[in-house]
Symmetry: C4
Subunit: 206 residues, 4 copies
Amino acid sequence: MHTFDEAAQAVISLAQFCSHKGWLPATSGNLSVLVERDPMKIAITRSGADKQRLQADDILCIDEHMQVQTETAYRPSAETSVHIELYRKFSCGSILHVHTVFNNLVSELYGDEGAVPIHGHELLKALGHWEEDAEVSIPIVPNYADLARLGQAVAEAAHAEVPAVFVRNHGIYAWGDTPEAARRHLEAIEFLAEYVYRLGVARDIG
Amino acid sequence: MHTFDEAAQAVISLAQFCSHKGWLPATSGNLSVLVERDPMKIAITRSGADKQRLQADDILCIDEHMQVQTETAYRPSAETSVHIELYRKFSCGSILHVHTVFNNLVSELYGDEGAVPIHGHELLKALGHWEEDAEVSIPIVPNYADLARLGQAVAEAAHAEVPAVFVRNHGIYAWGDTPEAARRHLEAIEFLAEYVYRLGVARDIG
Amino acid sequence: MHTFDEAAQAVISLAQFCSHKGWLPATSGNLSVLVERDPMKIAITRSGADKQRLQADDILCIDEHMQVQTETAYRPSAETSVHIELYRKFSCGSILHVHTVFNNLVSELYGDEGAVPIHGHELLKALGHWEEDAEVSIPIVPNYADLARLGQAVAEAAHAEVPAVFVRNHGIYAWGDTPEAARRHLEAIEFLAEYVYRLGVARDIG
Amino acid sequence: MHTFDEAAQAVISLAQFCSHKGWLPATSGNLSVLVERDPMKIAITRSGADKQRLQADDILCIDEHMQVQTETAYRPSAETSVHIELYRKFSCGSILHVHTVFNNLVSELYGDEGAVPIHGHELLKALGHWEEDAEVSIPIVPNYADLARLGQAVAEAAHAEVPAVFVRNHGIYAWGDTPEAARRHLEAIEFLAEYVYRLGVARDIG
């Protein structure tokens, strides 16, 4: 567990890392770190902030009913509901939601199948799979405009085998026990998304 | 409204952002911020400046007849006429014109159809479209060498639904009410241009 | 030969270079510099460190039996065994193991053939091949989960002609007499991996 | 004309720009600025230097017979002969030789035709072509191992219409009257090389 200030600082560090990678384009995305599990309190980026230059007051303290716990002129992102559903389901400590061209591409190209299969790749070790022929399947859910429904769909699709869910034509939610673990998982899956896309393009060669 | 100095500083910040992204290659592109709407006065990059190291005197104050309002040895870019036509048509506060490989690719690949269709993508929210199956169409105009004609063509093709127009084999004009909004719109459309291109390449897979 | 501290500092510099390139995603990869050849002592990154912010105590001093020679709470990466096998076979002074999308792609696309052929390319000069029609073949070995076996396979496949071996769907081991040479070899092969991949995609054009 | 020190400083600035772009991988490439035309004296990077961290003594003063004019332990790159041939033929003031994946790809894909055609693209303006349907052709020469022969081939193929020549499977020579112009030309051609490659891949779509 963290104090809110520690969690907020961890969110800012994650935002700097993800911004630098270009993973938070056009003020999109939101990042959170758990402050307390019960009753639930999380530190999360506010709606519409430029993630490259987050200030302390861009991070809100939210309870499990999406109520803001600190005095602020800002309102939480509607996508906060997805974070809350995931914290409820898993004992994770940090959740990252970002949009990249490659995670969007695989979410669309494998969208009808509902999952992206990954087989026998070294970076699965970063997701906790150490066996030689590890095979995992990263779920894809439809991009519901109703965010309560999206939160339920993401939480339902999420399984313990992979700490991430793609939202079709939208982006990814990735999580971990700590901010470092969440970031490591996200990095690994972004690598795999680019790899899967590029391999698909090349395999067409014959 | 801004003072000229505030507008010029906003132009320099936008140029740093766009240069860092590699969106202003070979001294190309030009960026402007509105100073006053009536009579129109804008702060805009001069012709041929290296946008990575703009100085205060690289930003010119121009009226709606393309006359320079400040003492300077520099002349405005001929493409300033396109900015003026767009400020006339829309109540926007900032216009960004950049050249990227991906905006050029979609402008050419969809050039004969005259528009790039985008359907059901999350980043359309950054352009103000929040419905689940939002569908927009980003116009493409021919790259007229006559820049007065290009300005008219861009302004005619521009519609309220999307704050951007592609110029075929040339680049993009994107705008917004504020410098931040213009930048957000540009970021969203550059993401979508890369996505549309890469999806087209992959879909060939079958 | 170096002192351990000099070797550790060289490892940190290599890690900064490779991190900046994005070649060490999700805490993957490991980098080493030889301290003494006989008895063998090497400076190598510990398991699981974030390579973008290595501290002095993230670098371990290891002997040829993989025993840690310094007091530390950290344990060596299991992949250290591959480094030891390569130092035994070659008189090299530094070994770099990184994961990139492009080295993974060519390791998979050419995996069944067991090697990536490179012919008549200028960057082969960076690998020591100066003749006009130089042709080399970079070996690919299977990604054995048993790392002792992987170490043997890499060392067996390695030949004097090219200072690198691909591990299928995993990454690359590249080496050189000095840290600078190892880095130069790795840079050249990463360039060639991207080139080979992209040429393959384009040649499909006909 | 410059003093040697001014020219050397301009070379270092060009090297920082090109390194940052990733255009000088594995210590490859060489960059020069003219000091005096008659008798010819040029400032040029030495062989094998890491271009990301050039020191003053990494820049050599060379005459038209490739003799080093300053006391130094370093020797000039063999590719200096290509620079000398180009300074002899054109009244240019700076020459940049870099290796990129995209300039290598187009040099190979169009190698049998001996030139890359570019038609009606906005960035041709950066090369001095302002008409609406400008069409230019960038020459490609074989990658002769004999560098005197390569120098002659590059100089023969070079024509006034485009300030650049591709060397097949090797890289590009680009030049301009000033260091700024050489850099602008190189930036424009690198943009066009990536565009031509990616358009070729996409056009396969049909």
